[in-house]
Subunit: 170 residues, 2 copies
DNA sequence: ACGGATCGTTTGTGTAGCGCCAACCATTTA
DNA sequence: TAAATGGTTGGCGCTACACAAACGATCCGT
């Protein structure tokens, strides 16, 4: 119905409604739903969503340093300590001093950690079914692959943005 | 192919590494990165990630009631009030009393709201490029579509979980 | 017409997640 | 030997919520 909205100086007709297709907000939205649902099924296992994220990352990149972990997780180093304390207290994760640089802690999943992670993932299936109910199994599969690939990229680290000024666009 | 997962009980040698393919944690992880990046590019527009989510939802389901909004957003009704206050104060959104039920407020995007949303989405492109750098443009497109479909489902509302007992699995 | 339920709103309380700062040890590096 | 670095601890503060209580306006069933 409405939506004529074109106005704006010139700007020819444009059917608007194209809406840019930004996945950021959708990602946020879906992640929130998933997180809320996950909390309940994870609680019995003594884990919280953020623990799961950490464990998942640790499985993929074994023997990572704490500060590298802070990088990929994008949380402050001091908070990584607390997070790992939780996990280590339950024997899911192991801190060892690095041989080449004895200041560093090399973090890795223990056997029971890997096991617990699998259990959690399995329990998560329930939550996932609720949240991704609108998707076919095949679609969920490709979604998983895309997320996997997207997250496995380099830690984004800190603004490698040299002297860029990409603003003027738009 | 994969997914032999036999385990159970003894668990012989198991090559493990099969890992269940749960997208929950990945979703969480990716959303966090995106949110962190988005905050900075959104700030100049006076918006925060959560406002963007709300606006996005509002664009798709125009004329929604506040409590329905609370449902899709999965946040408490009282918090929706504050959220809408922010948006209405900037004229991005409009509350009107519903004609058929005058208790209800019908919320909808204003013209300037839609405009601001598009601007924000455009600005978001920068953040998205950083975060989704590992994906090809075509892949980002399918990701968007999947997220779109996944979020457009019914509000999940509250546990329509009748007398289900899907736990025993796993 | 009355009473109970419902929608939105306000106010207040509590909690969790997290950034950030400062101090401190152990270690590495210049 | 002096500085820089990785981890740890403790503390401060903010933001996002959830939850509860109370209120006005309104709807609805009897």
């Amino acid at each position: 119905m409405f939506r004529a909205v074109r106005k704006l100086g010139h700007m020819p007709a444009l059917p608007v409604e194209e809406s840019e297709r930004r996945s950021g907000p959708l990602l946020d939205h879906l992640a929130r739903r998933m997180r809320l649902r996950s909390e309940s099924v994870l609680a019995p296992l003594g884990l919280r969503p953020r623990h799961l994220v950490a464990l998942t990352v640790l499985r993929d990149s074994a023997g990572i340093s704490q500060q590298a972990l802070a990088g990929t997780l994008q949380i402050d180093g001091t908070n990584v300590v607390g997070l790992l304390n939780d996990l280590e207290a339950e024997g899911l994760v192991e801190r060892r001093r690095s041989p080449e640089d004895r200041r560093r802690h090399v973090v890795s999943l223990t056997a029971t950690g890997a096991k617990r992670l699998r259990e959690a993932e399995c329990a998560l299936a329930v939550a996932e079914d609720e949240v991704l109910g609108a998707l076919e199994p095949a679609e969920r599969d490709t979604l998983y692959d895309l997320l996997r690939r997207a997250t496995s990229g380099r830690p984004v680290s800190c603004v490698e943005a040299s002297g860029d000024e990409p603003d003027p666009i738009c």
